[in-house]
């Protein structure tokens, strides 16, 4: 079954949400998560011992979904699995927009009872045309409307990153860790076993969603590979899609079966499908985060020639290895650049051949900026990466670092070429965190190591090359 954008919008932008089965044991977390909703929240709970705690949160309670006095757009269900079919029947009768089951214990258990219940839910929902998110998941996060699945998630401000995930943890991590890295979510969904709405449905929805500009996907398996292929190919032709196909190893495939009851296709075929569709492939959470940051913050380019700025000699060698091993180039600069550097750049203990070894030339932010300006203007250079090294200074240099950030922002704003930072934290991890957030606010992506910076940028370049090929050849 395929769904219209309007139907999907109803559950992604709900005005009325009902929480079924909120409990003191879990500190009413499902109610608390949706308290910021710009709309109306109702609780459905028949256990009289649980009801006072719900009312204390200011949320009206009913003992049956049908009694809720208005139309419900989205239902959050956290009840024991045996009760799930009953709640679904109520939701169908109430004609809600959609229903999410946090409830687990279905096909992923590999038991007859789990399989039977999952088949029952699937059959009931399919017959009624009811949208089911999950089961065995966390559901939908839309910060702008205040729909969350965890109190840890930010709300109020929306973003441009859409995320779909069979894993609740990955969706939770991406929305919380991502926030700290400057990623702002438009809509995210954790969908577990995906019995009615599948990866392809969410991907199609986010592909059409005007607020979503970049998409990430954590996938363990798809029930209809052909449809997924068609949708991914169409969506990736319009927006960048980063795909983390988990469960690639035989051991991982076994884990995926017991996590979300997903069946494995050959890992090599998945590679081919992702490549064919022009999706950006990643294999770990950090890689997903890094790639989304690159897409959200770094100006895209299909060209590979790096200008690298390192604080010291050792750093200049290791940053060069990191970028070269991702297939990026570190060329010599133009004669003109060399003439300009020769006028002021001290080469006693330093070098400006590219990479730049800034050892004797990092005295002031202004001097660093001057070096960056020359590098950024060089015709042999397509993109610039800067090694922001917090570890070497013997004393805190807060003022210097502030000045340097200002110059980096100034450089970035004045240059048409991609620019990003690798932070060498050394032992100053707290400063590194603040620096990362400060740079993110200014729209500069930063990475915690040279290899991660290089890998993220390589993915951006490859994607831009794919885009160029599609635009040229069709």
């Amino acid at each position: 079954m395929e769904w219209t954008q309007e139907e999907m919008d109803r559950i992604f932008n709900p005005r009325v949400v009902a929480v079924v089965g909120a409990k003191r044991d879990t500190d009413y977390t499902w109610v608390r998560s949706v308290l910021p909703l710009k709309g109306k929240v109702y609780s459905v709970q028949i256990d009289e011992r649980e009801i006072p705690g719900i009312l204390e949160l200011g949320i009206p309670n009913y003992t049956c979904l049908q009694d809720v006095p208005e139309a419900v757009d989205y239902v959050i269900v956290a009840v024991p699995r045996a009760v799930a079919p009953r709640v679904l029947a109520d939701a169908i009768e109430k004609r809600v927009g959609g229903i999410m089951f946090f409830t687990a214990g279905f096909a992923e258990t590999g038991t007859d009872e789990g399989g039977r219940l999952q088949a029952l839910l699937t059959e009931m929902a399919s017959k009624a045309g009811m949208k089911v998110v999950g089961p065995n998941c966390m559901g939908i996060y839309n910060p702008k409307v205040g729909l969350r699945f965890s109190e840890n998630q930010a709300h109020g401000e929306g973003g441009n990153v859409g995320f779909l995930s069979q894993s609740g943890t990955q969706a939770h991590l991406l929305s919380t860790v991502g926030y700290s890295h400057g990623l702002r979510i438009s809509k995210a969904v954790s969908f577990g076993n995906g019995i009615v709405l599948h990866a392809a449905d969410y991907l199609e929805y986010l592909g059409r969603d005007p607020e979503t500009e970049v998409i990430g996907a954590y996938i363990e398996g798809v029930p209809d590979g052909r449809r997924f292929f068609r949708v991914l190919r169409d969506v990736a032709a319009k927006k960048p899609v980063v795909v983390w196909k988990a469960g690639r190893s035989p051991e991982g495939a076994r884990a995926a079966r017991s996590h979300t009851a997903s069946l494995a296709a050959s890992s090599r075929l998945w590679d081919a499908v992702l490549r064919q569709c022009g999706a950006i492939q990643v294999d770990a959470f950090d890689e997903m985060l890094d790639a989304l940051k690159a897409l959200a913050y770094i100006r895209p380019t299909a060209d590979r020639r790096m200008g690298l700025v390192a604080t010291t000699g050792g750093q200049s060698v290791s940053i060069t290895d990191a970028f070269a091993s991702e297939g990026l180039l570190v060329p010599e600069l133009t004669a003109r650049s060399y003439q300009e550097y020769a006028q002021f750049f001290s080469i006693i203990g330093g070098s400006y051949r590219n990479p730049l070894d800034m050892t004797p030339n990092s005295g002031t932010p202004k001097l660093i900026r001057r070096c960056l300006d020359i590098l950024g203007a060089d015709e042999h250079v397509d993109a610039v990466a800067y090694d922001f090294n917090l570890g070497l200074a013997t004393r805190e240099r807060q003022e210097f670092w502030e000045g340097l950030v200002a110059e980096l922002v100034g450089y970035k704003d004045s240059s048409s070429k991609p620019f990003f930072v690798s932070i060498t934290a050394g032992h100053r991890e707290e400063q590194a965190l603040r620096l990362r957030q400060r740079l993110a606010q200014a729209g500069i992506a930063s990475y915690p190591s040279f290899p991660r910076a290089a890998a993220a940028f390589r993915r951006l370049v490859e994607h831009a090359a794919f885009r160029r090929e599609v635009d040229e050849a069709g």
Partner: protein, 232 residues
């Protein structure tokens, strides 16, 4: 619709595996360059085919019951004359009878021995989740030992065919290695695209192997082929 006769005949005989001659006929109709291969039912026909195609020729047993002809001595390479062709015909029939006395024999195939080229392998198979896909690799050790192959789902766009050919690690061998002229990668890509269209038009085909396909500086030529149909 190409190949309807060949497929209908196999179906009528209750076969899902097409013979080499049938497979080649089907693929030639699909627009894939295939070495001309003629079926001889008698020694006299074999000689006539060989004369027409020009020596040296390759002769093989054609039997739906003998799929791996070389395993049973069912292949003769470099047959250079009428006398050799006559002898080969007799020996092939004897080998077939030894290997499988009850086998149905269609006869002996005769094809011109192709000039040496870079060997590549092209195939189509189906994945339970993703459906039909194509495979491309370099022949011999690279595909068998190193599994150096590229996959794409059907249907292929032009850029997919291009990417497949360039994705294999052995690509430098195609691009011209140690002073060898580069092979005709455009013709390779066209063969992949033709095969993709063919697979799309024929969902009744389960599996297909072109092994080897010889790639030349100009053109490509499939010299062996095997097509398997879905169960009826």
């Amino acid at each position: 619709m190409v190949g309807v006769d060949v497929i209908a005949r196999a179906r009528k005989e209750g076969r899902t595996v097409l013979t080499e001659v049938e497979s080649k006929e089907l693929l030639r109709e699909a627009g894939i360059p295939v070495v001309e291969t003629s079926l001889a039912r008698t020694s006299r026909e074999a000689l006539a085919h060989a004369e027409r195609l020009g020596y040296p020729v390759v002769m093989k047993i054609v039997s739906p019951d003998i799929l791996h002809q070389s395993d049973v001595g069912g292949v003769r390479l470099g047959v250079r004359s009428q006398a050799e062709a006559r002898l080969a015909y007799r020996e092939l029939l004897a080998a077939a009878a030894r290997a499988n006395p009850g086998a149905i024999l269609h006869g002996v195939s005769v094809q011109r021995q192709a000039a040496p080229g870079v060997e590549v392998v092209v195939g189509m198979a189906k994945d339970p989740q993703f459906g039909p896909f194509l495979m491309f690799g370099l022949g011999g050790v690279l595909v068998e030992v190193l599994n150096d192959v590229a996959f794409r789902l059907v249907p292929l766009a032009r850029r997919d065919a291009r990417a497949m050919v360039r994705e294999v690690k052995g690509y430098p061998l195609l691009a011209g290695h140690r002073g060898q002229p580069p092979v005709d990668t455009v013709a390779l890509e066209q063969a992949l695209l033709a095969l993709s269209r063919f697979a799309e038009a024929h969902p009744e085909i389960r599996e297909l192997d072109l092994n080897p396909v010889l790639a030349y500086p100009q053109g490509v030529l499939a010299v062996d082929a095997r097509v398997v149909l879905e169960g009826a």
